[in-house]
Symmetry: C2
Subunit: 230 residues, 2 copies
Amino acid sequence: METARPHPYYPQNLVLDHYVPNTNSMMDTLIMMFAVFGVIIAVSLFLAYKKRNTSIRGVGNQVTFVWFVMCGFIHLGLEGYFGVYHKTLAGMNTPLAQVWKEYSISDSRYLTSDSFVLIMERITAFAWGPLAFYTAYAQYHDLPSRYIVQLILSLGQLYGDVLYYFTTLVEGSPHCDPHPYYYYFYFVHFNAWWIIIPCILMHNSIKNLYRAVRITMEGAAKDQKQKKHK
Amino acid sequence: METARPHPYYPQNLVLDHYVPNTNSMMDTLIMMFAVFGVIIAVSLFLAYKKRNTSIRGVGNQVTFVWFVMCGFIHLGLEGYFGVYHKTLAGMNTPLAQVWKEYSISDSRYLTSDSFVLIMERITAFAWGPLAFYTAYAQYHDLPSRYIVQLILSLGQLYGDVLYYFTTLVEGSPHCDPHPYYYYFYFVHFNAWWIIIPCILMHNSIKNLYRAVRITMEGAAKDQKQKKHK
């Protein structure tokens, strides 16, 4: 016995009794989201520009600063919203709920309070979110902690995202709409950013920390030698 | 309609058709496991003792070295075994399968190839396992990478373990036998090690890396000043 499918999510036999359709079109939701992203990018680029001759020199550092600020807002704002309202999300039509209901076509685990997605997203929101803002702050003020927090943040994001991909891939992605737009643009592409950029930033952190430790060890060895000679 | 429970796992209605009971008693399995742990601890303590005047000075450093070696063996050996044989584990009676079937009374997700536990354990086995051995090696030879890899390893272990606990706690621990022996000694106690020790080692890494970066930054600032005076 098959009943008419009352929602657009996968697997198609998923029961989502509280679901109500979005009132905004997909295009409206995407435009709203990218407009907010645009404002965040513009403001953080302006901040980065003020430090172009000191702590945020060069294009690479400017992009990195924008990345940390964006991560802070996305983790705390968007993912924090999910972490708090996950239970009732499918029945809500606030702008952020509509973003999640649109994204969930590519991964319905966001509407079913899947235990892994829920805990991973809460840690991302409430641990990595504030840490992303602190990392931007540490970069802005050239603090000694900068590369340490950058390493912690990036490893946390990378590990969470690898788990996120593989926990559904290993089951054959039953939670994902197989349509290429949803599968590749939403599920694969949006999350790929948190694989690629953390890898680059971890490499950058490790290189800088390694150099600092090596210099300090060489300095200590030299001091030791000089002491012996006296 | 209720059928007789054919296995000791939770939730009690769990279907595990391929399950066969352990042939060794619980005591035999525990004694075997702790005997192997004892040999690993003895050998790594002997190695640490050889470096007691150089790279592994003091009790704290010796315990830390033993910890890394133990983690390497537990991650690669025990958890790697699960990562490879998870599908057929419930029906096997090799010594390692019997360890997992005993532990699974406190968390049946190990016998059902739960997607989160499977992916987290594979990353723990095949990424954190070799990294734990490398961290022991870096400590033994006092390499500049020591505190960097210690930080990566410990954060990886901590994040995995926090997710591990909360993904079942958030559902009300349906996979755990509520008997205090299984719940507190197996599920809570065995995994608590990978919360407490990584926190201590992360703090230790951050302190040492922060110090190295500060010294290097101060040195660079001094060089800059001297250049200006010339």
